[in-house]
Symmetry: C2
Subunit: 350 residues, 2 copies
């Protein structure tokens, strides 16, 4: 295709979908995902004393010889924010600042140092997502916090510094710029059309089909129309809901396999790429839950993005999302379809 | 210092200035800036036929044995945008798109393959900036274009794919998100206070002094209060002006040395880091030139930023800008101060 300028319908951000630049020499540089972490690994069973004391732990039921825990959540040893104290909001001439109050926790996803989300048992991924939900709900009891970010960095180029698989939770006394922009764009759309923009997007994407990656009873994974990055994937719940904290047990059982499925497709398609995923949810107490739709954004870190993108907020994406989605869909024949996972074209439940 | 949450006064973006995380193991990974470009180098004299035909060329005055040119501007061989055609703006359900119309040009900064902006003769840097101004002015005669981005990627981690020093110009039929956010924030400030936010910021920063990096008669280089990245530097003209295209000959003669000075400090402080710089200017025909202040943003690419920053628009910066600025100022004793360059504390001209 020739290149197109596409506008993200939520944030208003424009992106160049530059099909032809895919012909450039070496557009995706090779990245090693492996990390040399500290020895011994503080996230491995037996080394629990090397981390701060856990704030949440799931233990396996009974069986002798089982590991002592399945998922552990601990405060980050090098936290970007401190949990104690008042915010002390103040000005300094024309600048605004406050103390770096917040929570920064690490979800140790598995006792197995070598395990990977693409190989976790389905139950393991459900426990991880449940731990996210539990910690988010707990942290939001603290009235100082205006938002909670849940994210995973996999591989050094994606910002990870430990090899043992983990994700992170940051609770903040402010709402990040991207979430603010989403709330703003979604409010404008809702004011004009009286509907949730992501509900409309889901309906259009399911009818269109070109950007669909996978779907199951409760979730749809798609390549966003104005993808900033090659092979960016968005996972949306079919049912409108602003807050991730409201996720049901059944939805955790269907979110886990579609997230694993997307990560498997990316691993197969892109040779175990570094990646990030980020959970987007409405801020606590958000007054217009009809306007926001929680979601999971998965971004493989493939290209050293031209740094002007940092300065301009303008992205050049060499891979049209339709091509990325087709490629990811076509991998189905090489994959074991997880239990409860519907192939494209099958009717959703309910 | 303990960590702080700081708000960018223009865009409203919050950032964690996390002083203590500077203690983490290996916060700045080592990056090689070197690139293995194609052989032979299409940007070297004698290989002009390997690039598209130049749109601008500066030739040295007379002297036998001089190179055939000093600065050459050519269309990008792999353009992200095409110059020919109409925009064909249209909708696709709830999405908006247009054809990828625009200009994408490369400024070959020097005939010398091994030369670097920190070692260019002062005259060379002036010619480069003058070429930016000339090309910007020419491109904005095209009524389809709403903005022009001038930027430089140096080193592979900053997105460069050629070793021979060059910068780039992209003309776009839209205004990028970051510039929109700046215009919006600056308009709010101007509505409330009746003054340009950057003029106020300059006055406050000069009086405060902690974040100053360098200054001369016409420009001030400083570490922004809410820096997203370690050693981020902003160069602001002292005199209010919205459009870079209005830069005077005298200002080009003083911008060139302060930009070289900043790049020399970063090279000394950070061992030849990869970096980007981006020129920010008001969109053509912008109706409120009293609100915007053109500027150059310089960002060394030191850290693999945690990818959740892509998703959240929320940054963690391990280096307080006051520390970065002090470190960059202190390098003065190791440097030859360029001609016309004033040390901190000397009175500006005029």
């Amino acid at each position: 295709m020739s290149s197109e300028l596409r506008k993200d319908p939520v944030t208003g951000r424009w992106v160049i979908i530059a099909g032809e630049r895919g012909q450039r020499p070496n557009p995706f540089r090779h990245y090693a995902s492996t990390i040399e972490g500290p020895e011994p690994c503080p996230f491995c069973p037996g080394n629990e004393s090397l981390t701060p004391h856990e704030v949440l732990v799931y233990r396996p039921e009974g069986a002798a010889g089982a590991p002592a825990w399945t998922v552990r959540v601990v405060p980050n040893l090098y936290p970007a924010l401190r949990i104690e104290g008042s915010l002390d909001k103040r000005g300094e001439g024309l600048y605004d600042l406050m103390r770096g109050i917040g929570a920064h926790e690490v979800i140790i996803e598995t006792p197995d140092h070598a395990a990977d989300p693409t190989t976790y048992a389905p139950r393991q991924m459900q426990e991880i997502l449940n731990a996210c939900r539990e910690r988010m709900t707990d942290l939001l009891r603290d009235a100082r916090f205006r938002s909670v970010l849940v994210f995973k960095n996999h591989g050094a180029p994606a910002g990870a510094t430990m090899a043992h698989h983990h994700s992170q939770i940051i609770a903040l006394p402010i709402v990040p710029a991207r979430i603010e922009a989403e709330l703003h764009g979604a409010a404008e759309y809702h004011d004009y059309r009286g509907r949730c923009i992501w509900c409309d997007m889901l309906a259009q994407e399911i009818a269109d089909g070109r950007r669909l990656v996978a779907q199951n009873a409760d979730f749809v994974a798609l390549a966003p129309f104005a993808s900033r990055f090659p092979f960016e994937v968005l996972i949306l719940p079919r049912q409108h809901e602003a807050f991730f904290g409201s996720i049901t047990r059944q939805q955790i059982e269907t979110l886990a396999p579609i997230l694993q499925d997307v990560l498997r497709r990316l691993k197969l398609a892109l040779k175990d790429p570094p990646y990030n995923y980020v959970l987007h949810t409405a801020p606590p107490g958000f007054g217009h839950p009809e306007q926001y739709h929680w979601q999971v954004e998965v971004i493989p870190k493939l290209t050293e993005l031209a740094g002007f993108e940092w300065g301009s907020g303008f992205y050049i994406n060499p891979t049209p999302p339709e091509e990325a989605a087709r490629h990811l869909r076509d991998l189905e024949r090489f994959m074991d379809v997880p239990e409860g996972h519907l192939l494209k074209g099958e009717a959703p439940r309910g």
